[in-house]
Symmetry: C2
Subunit: 127 residues, 2 copies
DNA sequence: GTGCTTGCAAATCGTTTGCAATAGC
DNA sequence: GCTATTGCAAACGATTTGCAAGCAC
């Protein structure tokens, strides 16, 4: 029973695959055209998507939850200058799901991320 | 100018290297013996330690900041049942600092963590 | 005495919850 | 009609901030 709002939210997530948006980002764009939308609905929808495995949650920044619809194995890079989160394709056997356990612990999720300064911000410093 | 409180907080961090405590955990043990201590002081101290690189912040859970005094390169494992965070020693070239860049981005911090069920909780299920 | 730290109370902010109205089938 | 979803307002909880009093040197 997909509601109109949930369809729009999923469409947004799909259209902005690379932006790893917050609830706020989704709300500010969608509510422009859909006055019929609240933050709570977005929280509800994303939590439902999380349970179904449609999206995953990224807690890199520590101050907000960012959502990711990319289900391929990958890591993330958070730029401390522009705040962008960039997908990183790595040769990590854990991220690729080749290992089910580590030190006797059963692995269910693998998260890898880097913090630093992204390529584009580095360019600005030089140029 | 190390104050009495900051010394006690550092001592606590050193004594509980493996527990990756929250501010709350530090407060509840220390305040038992030191009525002269507030949460704010712990936040102040840990933020100062962070800037000096004495500790690092772990934002795995998404609901709280956990602090780590272990500066050796390592990953973490978060058990979704008991909530423990366990140090994981991995052969990761990034964690070991052997790579300074990735895809043109400059790496300043490397974070790797797993979520799942820890060895001890797995045992309880069987036993 | 100067500058940093302490610690209370209040503010902040992302997220969750309670709940009555509504939509989907 | 039954169940799940919506969305407002209120609650929550971890962290930060303002600021007066206190400490280190």
């Amino acid at each position: 029973m997909p509601t109109y709002q949930r369809i729009k939210i999923l469409e947004y997530m799909d259209k902005h695959r690379d932006s790893h948006p917050t609830v706020e980002m989704i709300y500010s764009e969608l509510s422009r055209r859909l006055p019929i939308l609240s933050m709570t609905t977005i929280y509800n929808a994303l939590n439902a998507f999380l349970e179904k495995g449609l999206v995953s949650a990224i807690t890199i920044t520590g101050t907000e939850i960012r959502y990711d619809i990319n289900t391929n194995p990958h890591h993330h890079f958070l730029c401390r200058e522009c705040g962008r989160i960039i997908d990183i394709d790595v040769e990590c056997p854990f991220a690729r799901g080749k290992e089910k356990d580590i030190c006797g612990h059963r692995i269910e999720e693998v998260h890898g991320y880097f913090k630093g300064i992204c390529k584009d911000c580095l360019k600005k410093h030089k140029g």
